[in-house]
């Protein structure tokens, strides 16, 4: 937020003037108000195995994160390029596999990848869209340096926080929004609905495709978001046992009989989607949905098998993938990545464990990773053993000098590390990126882990008007 001389960076100027009108006590009160608002609205997440009483709030920080229109424009171009490449890559991988034939990607990365679904080979999703919804994780290391950390191309979550965080800020500081021109994020549900409707399958009849959101149910940690999105889109919020195959379509049990669904925005992982085709013990999915899908009877968003594109091992090839499909160098940087499967890389990583971040290839949520500079000797030694036992399971990256933004703490404003997840919607005719996103904050001083499952918080993200 501040430059090296200690003056506020330009996008924060007006905001800083406004902030100085508040006393610390007033800000603390506002912060409690926000918490009450979240509780009443029920913006909570469940902790697995806990009772209702243990619904938790994700800590919300009332100091917004501000990004200028110029910075945003560049991010937008970079993200769009990346998402286009990912969709072209997925199509290629499930059809001719030209990128492998061209020798730009090793075959074993696909052949030995759990996220690669053989059932998708030769299947073209309606409208050609694989990833209707993408959440690209970015970090900033300097005034103009953004890196992509991860391309979440399966079922990215957090968009409800983007919208509700803004709602909360509008409610608490209405006067602030008349002083600072902030771009709206409120169109996301409408655009989501549009993107899904545009991708309706061949079997869809009628002008308004029937859309449903598939949730694992009220005990899922993201249930609030599933209900929120269904509600905002005017879509049905269904669970696996509401659905069955009727006359070659996926239909939901309504009070008047079974009604076919055209587009299913599923928030259930590939493995659980279809007990007949994937995990037989799944009660969250719909038996036979893959067969209906392959026959053009329904659109599944995101398409099954997109996980092969956001795998951490594939990630290290993203610069090649982008160049291969768009013919241009990537606009946004990848974090340099050592693939521990490769002998030279492994050697380097083992020698520099105290400087690197080592992650599991298929891991998520910030679990199972080593943050070298923050780890004790004992932790490093233990991790070394795991890495040596299964090197192909890991990648390593340098610890980036992440930028910080201020958060409100008990002792006033204090810097914390953040990342940024903008949300991208892909329809057959366009890519739409909502001007905003989810800013996640590592609430512990010096920590780099922003995941909500590990105590990370969120804040409102402002993209300024030009």
């Amino acid at each position: 937020m501040h430059d090296e001389a200690g003056a506020p960076r330009e996008p924060y100027e007006e905001y800083t003037r406004w902030l100085s009108d508040y006393t610390p006590a007033e800000l603390a009160r506002k912060s409690r108000e926000a918490e009450t608002f979240f509780r009443r609205t029920g913006i909570t997440f469940n902790v697995y195995g806990a009772r209702d009483a243990d619904e938790r709030l994700i800590p919300f920080d009332i100091v917004p994160r501000v990004i200028s229109a110029r910075e945003w424009a560049r991010l937008e171009r970079g993200i769009e390029q990346r998402v286009r490449a990912i969709n072209a890559f997925l199509h290629d991988i499930y059809h001719k596999q030209e990128i492998i034939k061209a020798g730009r990607l090793p075959l074993n990365l696909i052949a030995n990848n759990d996220a690669f679904l053989a059932k998708m080979i030769g299947v073209s999703p309606p409208g050609g869209v694989y990833t209707h919804i993408v959440g690209t994780d970015l970090v900033r290391t300097g005034p103009n340096d953004f890196y992509v950390l991860e391309d979440n191309a399966r079922t990215p979550s957090g968009v409800s926080y983007m919208i509700e965080n803004r709602e909360t800020m509008l409610r608490m500081f209405p006067e602030l929004f008349s002083r600072v021109p902030v771009q709206s994020v409120g169109d996301y549900p409408v655009n989501l609905r549009r993107a899904l409707a545009r991708s309706a399958p061949p079997a869809s009849r009628g002008a308004r495709p029937v859309i449903a959101v598939l949730t694992p149910g009220i005990h899922n940690s993201a249930y609030f978001e599933h209900a929120f999105l269904a509600d905002q889109m005017g879509a049905a919020l269904v669970e696996g046992h509401d659905l069955r195959v009727v006359d070659g379509r996926i239909a939901m049990r309504t009070t008047q009989g079974f009604t076919p669904i055209d587009v299913l925005y599923r928030r259930v992982d590939d493995d659980y989607l279809d007990p007949l085709n994937f995990r037989a013990d799944s009660v969250l999915g719909v038996p036979g949905i893959m067969d209906v899908y392959r026959a053009g009877g329904i659109t599944i968003a995101n398409a099954p098998g997109t996980g092969v594109a956001d795998d951490k091992a594939i990630y290290s090839y993203m610069p090649e993938i982008i160049e291969f499909y768009t013919g241009k160098p990537p606009i946004l940087k990848n974090v340099p990545t050592w693939r521990c499967a490769e002998a030279d890389a492994l050697k380097y990583v083992l020698e520099h464990l105290d400087e690197l971040v080592v992650k599991e290839v298929h891991g998520s949520g910030g679990y199972g990773m080593l943050v070298g500079p923050a780890a004790s000797k004992k932790e490093i030694a233990a991790f070394r053993k795991k890495l040596e036992a299964k090197p192909a399971n890991y990648i390593a990256q340098p610890t980036l000098a992440l930028s910080t933004v201020p958060v409100l703490t008990k002792s006033g404003l204090s810097p914390r590390h953040v990342d940024l997840r903008p949300f991208v919607l892909v329809s057959p005719d366009r890519i739409n990126i909502t001007p905003g996103g989810l800013t996640r904050v590592a609430m512990k001083k010096g920590s780099l882990v922003v995941n909500s499952s590990q105590g990370g918080g969120t804040k409102d993200t402002w993209i300024l008007e030009d």
Partner: protein, 313 residues
């Protein structure tokens, strides 16, 4: 609309209705216990029976003393029908059907649950009971108000109202089932002080002591009280009133869906039967038998609604 959502709405409103009625029963019983400590135990026993949790209560307690009864009915986790458990379940159903509710209705239920959970965190102190009762009344009214004020009056609304009135009919009938003997004209000490207190308790249990007085000028008469609770057209907790509401809400589903179902015939039949009967007919054929029969018909109607609108797989 999803069958599962219709089911969630229906049960959400059944649970809220029952929570409110249970609180009302405790309030009436408490008043009785305050004013007439001699018969308090017997009174609490009949209240526990009315609330349908006698069995569950006797599994953890031996006698019907004021403090344990209140605790059991208001907040015990051992009691699936305690006010707190019911509110918790109603809120779980509300989360389940979140997309069928307006933000206002959802927040009213959610806030109600948060408020009650806070008030009933520790065993209830007698001195706090009035404040807790006020809170329950207010929270329930808030949900009802938001339902009327913000929801579309469509099928979603009909399922919510059906839940309310199927449960209310059941609760009023169960109160009569437990108390029928004090309403029998044959009971000879008509007008004794004990009877007056009993009748008042019955009326208080359905929040109708004032409206009965308004209509009947303060003369408590058992057969008039029975008539008031069973056949009155204006009393929102009478059996007849509940039957009419059920018929009306089913009729709105019939219009909405252009579909007539077996539950429509059942409900209309039940309404017509009450229409034909006078309170004297009911006494002549036996009040207790009438109530037992009504309860089983009401249950069957509830099950038929669940089947006809595909609440379950």
């Amino acid at each position: 609309m999803l069958g599962r959502h219709a089911c969630g709405l229906y049960w959400m409103f059944r649970q809220l209705e029952r929570a409110e009625n249970t609180a009302r029963l405790v309030e009436a019983g408490f008043r009785m216990a305050l004013t007439r400590s001699v018969s308090a135990e017997g009174e609490w026993e009949s209240i526990i029976t009315t609330a349908g949790c006698r069995q569950a209560f006797l599994e953890v307690h031996d006698s019907f003393e004021t403090a344990p009864v209140i605790d059991f009915m208001m907040r015990s986790a051992d009691n699936p029908a305690s006010v707190l458990t019911l509110f918790e379940n109603a809120r779980r159903n509300a989360r389940q059907v979140r997309t069928s509710l307006t933000r206002d209705v959802w927040e009213a239920v959610n806030e109600g649950w948060m408020t009650l959970r806070e008030l009933l965190r520790r065993p209830v102190k007698i001195a706090e009971l009035p404040a807790i009762m006020t809170a329950i009344r207010q929270q329930s009214a808030l949900v009802r108000g938001q339902l009327y004020g913000t929801m579309l009056q469509d099928d979603i609304f009909a399922y919510a109202r059906l839940g309310t009135f199927v449960e209310r009919a059941d609760n009023t009938a169960r109160l009569l089932d437990v108390k029928y003997y004090v309403l029998l004209p044959a009971t000879s000490y008509v007008g004794s002080e004990l009877d007056n207190v009993q009748w008042e308790t019955v009326l208080r249990s359905v929040s109708a002591d004032r409206s009965y007085t308004w209509l009947h000028g303060g003369d408590n008469d058992p057969s008039e009280i029975a008539d008031f609770l069973i056949l009155d057209r204006h009393m929102p907790r009478s059996l007849y009133y509940c039957c009419c509401e059920i018929v009306d809400n089913l009729a709105s589903l019939e219009r909405e869906y252009h579909m007539r179902k077996p539950c429509h015939d059942m409900a209309e039949e039940g309404q017509a039967r009450l229409n034909r009967l006078s309170i004297d007919d009911i006494f002549a054929a036996g009040l207790h038998e009438f109530i037992t029969d009504f309860l089983s018909r009401n249950n069957a109607l509830g099950r038929q609604i669940e089947t006809d609108y595909r609440f379950y797989e």
